[in-house]
C-alpha cells in the first residue's frame, strides 16, 4: 500500500514510536532526575524548566551534582555544555533532512530545541519516514510526547523522592544509559557503526584524561574514522 507522505502521516508514526519504549525510558530516567532534584533542594518548577529547556538528561544530572558540590556557574556551564555538545552535530545532521519544511530560522531552532538523543536516534533509523514533510511531523510528534512524558516523570520523581527505595532510584538513573547503549548497538550503517566503536574506544581514555573536552575529542576522532569507513551506497564521484 502506498503511504501518504504528509505531515499527519509522519506525526502518527512519530507518536506511535514515542509511545513505545521511549515512554518507559523517559518516565524512568526523568523520575530519577526528579528525585535527585528534590534531594538537591531544587524547586519543582525549576527542575521542570531545566527538563524542558536543557532537555538532555546527562547535562541535567551534571547540573544537579555540581550545584550540590558548590561548583561555580562557569564550571556548571562548561560541564553541561560538554555533556550536551552533541546537540551541535546532531542538529547539523538532522535539520537538512527536513528540507524547507522545518520553517524559517525560528522553525529550525524549534526543531533543534525539541531534539533529544532519542528523537534523533529514532528519526535516523531506516524505518523512519523519508519524505521531508513527513519527517517534520514525525519529529514534532515524537518530541512533544517525549517532553510531556519527561515533565510527568520529573514531577513523579520529585514527589515520590522520599519513598523511592535506593535500588530503584539508582536504576532509574541507569535506565537512560541502557537505552542509549541499545540504540547504538542497533545501528547497521557501516560508517556510523565504525564511528560508534571508535567512539567507545577513544571515549574511555579521552573522558578519563580530558574530562572537560573528552567528548569533543571523541566526536572528532570517532566521527572522522567513521566517515572514512562510510561505504557509499550510491555512485558519488570521489575527490
Amino acid at each position: 500500500m502506498m503511504t501518504e507522505p504528509t505531515l499527519i502521516y509522519g506525526a502518527k508514526r512519530g507518536a506511535l514510536d514515542a509511545l513505545g519504549i521511549p515512554l518507559i525510558v523517559l518516565l524512568g530516567g526523568m523520575t530519577g532526575y526528579g528525585a535527585l532534584a528534590h534531594d538537591s533542594g531544587f524547586g519543582l518548577g525549576l527542575a521542570t524548566v531545566a527538563t524542558v529547556l536543557v532537555w538532555g538528561l546527562p547535562g541535567q544530572i551534571a547540573m544537579l551534582e555540581l550545584e550540590n558540590a558548590g561548583a561555580d556557574l562557569l564550571a556548571i556551564a562548561i560541564a553541561v555544555g560538554m555533556a550536551n555538545m552533541r546537540f551541535f552535530p546532531m542538529s547539523v545532521a538532522l535539520l537538512p533532512t527536513f528540507g524547507r519544511h522545518a520553517g524559517g530560522a525560528f522553525g529550525r531552532l524549534f526543531q533543534s530545541q525539541i531534539m533529544s538523543a532519542s528523537s534523533w536516534a529514532f528519526i535516523m533509523r531506516p524505518t523512519a519516514p523519508v519524505e521531508a514533510r513527513a519527517r517534520v511531523g514525525y519529529h514534532v510528534a515524537f518530541a512533544a510526547i517525549c517532553l510531556t512524558l519527561a515533565v510527568i516523570g520529573t514531577s513523579a520523581g520529585y514527589f515520590g523522592a522520599a519513598s523511592l527505595p535506593r535500588p530503584l532510584a539508582l536504576s532509574l538513573l541507569f535506565v537512560n544509559a541502557c537505552f542509549l547503549l541499545l540504540l547504538l548497538v542497533d545501528i547497521r550503517q557501516r560508517g556510523a557503526l565504525v564511528a560508534i566503536v571508535t567512539g567507545i574506544a577513544v571515549g574511555l581514555p579521552a573522558n578519563l584524561y580530558l574530562p572537560d573536552f573528552g567528548l569533543i575529542v571523541t566526536g572528532v576522532i570517532g566521527g572522522t574514522i567513521g566517515f572514512l569507513a562510510w561505504k557509499p551506497d550510491r555512485k558519488d564521484p570521489g575527490a
Binding site: 531545566a50 546537540f87 538523543a117 541507569f174 541499545l182 574514522i225
Partner: protein, 111 residues
C-alpha cells in the same frame, strides 16, 4: 575562576540552559549551509554517533554522583546482560532495557 558570587539553583539552571541552547543554535546556523547528500553531512552524522558513544562510556564507566557508588562490574554486567537479551529477543529494545535495568536493580539490592 572561583571568585564568582554564591548563586542559587535558578542561576545554575540558567547556566545549564544557555550552555545547551548555544550548541543547538550553532547547529542550526551550520545546518543552513549543508547539503544532506554531501560529505560534510555524513561527517557530522558520524561525529554525532561517536559523541553519543563517548557519552555512553561516560555514563556507564565513568559516571558522576550516585551511580559512581555502584561497582563498575555491576554497571557493565547489567549492560552486557541487556545487550545479550536485546539480540536474543530479535533486537527488542523493551526487553533489552528491562533485563539490563532489572539486573542492575537486583544487584544493587542484594550486593
Amino acid at each position: 575562576m572561583s571568585g564568582l558570587e554564591p548563586h542559587g539553583p535558578e542561576l545554575a539552571v540558567l547556566a545549564a540552559v544557555l550552555a545547551s541552547f548555544g550548541w543547538r543554535a550553532l547547529g542550526v546556523v551550520f545546518a543552513n549551509r549543508i547539503d544532506p547528500d554531501g560529505p560534510v553531512f555524513r561527517w557530522f552524522t558520524c561525529c554525532s554517533y561517536a559523541i553519543l558513544a563517548g557519552l555512553l562510556t561516560r555514563l556507564l564507566v565513568l559516571p558522576i554522583g550516585d551511580l559512581s557508588e555502584v561497582g563498575l562490574s555491576i554497571r557493565l554486567g547489567a549492560a552486557a546482560l541487556g545487550v545479550a537479551a536485546f539480540f536474543a529477543s530479535g533486537r527488542n529494545l523493551l526487553i533489552g532495557v528491562l533485563v539490563a535495568t532489572g539486573a542492575f536493580a537486583a544487584a544493587v539490592a542484594w550486593l
